[in-house]
């Protein structure tokens, strides 16, 4: 299936790779189908979340576990139901990056991860109400090396 993207031009994706976002993302409630593009190096924690329906929107996302050693998340029952975890499938957590001109000032939203059930091909952006994670978590602190 061919889709048009702003940053990769026209690309061919497998329909099996499409992930449903039944509630969209915050600020983009009507965009409900995305693909995660890895692009060459398979093991990079940096990924690209691309809308399938249009060239817009797209996001740079990172594997949350690459930013903190142990990403502690407890999800409400309603969220687990939407993510169809009763049918199995391990959940993976990704965080959305804001990248200003100087990449060293970039932040990720650790408080509102995108939770993906790859097996069920369904995902949700969840605001972790009871967590101390920051909405603007700096990835590169001075002198501190990323723990990935």
């Amino acid at each position: 299936m061919l889709i048009n993207t702003r940053d990769f031009g026209q690309i061919d994706i497998n329909e099996d790779e499409i992930i449903r976002f039944p509630e969209g993302l915050y600020g983009f409630p009507h965009v409900t189908r995305y693909v995660i593009l890895r692009q060459d190096d398979e093991d990079s924690p940096v990924l690209w979340l691309q809308s399938v329906e249009d060239t817009f929107p797209s996001f740079v996302i990172m594997d949350a576990e690459s930013i903190v050693d142990e990403y502690k998340v407890s999800l409400p029952k309603k969220v687990l139901e939407t993510l169809e975890t009763n049918r199995g499938g391990k959940l993976q957590y990704f965080v959305i990056a804001v990248i200003p001109k100087d990449i060293k000032d970039m932040t990720v939203n650790m408080k509102s991860p995108i939770v993906v059930n790859f097996e069920g091909k369904v995902a949700l952006q969840v605001i972790l109400e009871d967590s101390a994670y920051q909405i603007r978590h700096r990835v590169f602190e001075d002198g501190k090396v990323l723990s990935c």
Partner: protein, 79 residues
């Protein structure tokens, strides 16, 4: 910042048309009731901030920054 101490059942008024009532306090949670005109949008701050950062995220990225970030992380990993 204006700081007001209130007890459950007490309220305060903003701009003559918004009434905020403290309903109850339990452990580290406070329940608040708000009466406001329909056109006043009320959002949990983290929801508002998440929407805002999502918008910013979309506008802040492009292919070259994606590449740059991948390289930056690869280099740090190899250090």
């Amino acid at each position: 910042m204006l700081i007001i101490t209130r007890k459950p059942g007490d309220a305060f008024i903003i701009n003559e048309n918004i009434e905020v009532t403290i309903l109850d306090v339990q452990n580290d949670k406070v329940r608040v009731g708000i009466n406001a005109p329909r056109d006043v949008q009320i959002l949990r701050k983290e929801l508002y901030e998440t929407e805002k950062t999502n918008m910013e995220a979309v506008q802040s990225i492009n292919f070259s920054k994606f590449k740059e970030l991948k390289n930056e992380i690869k280099n740090r990993k190899n250090d």
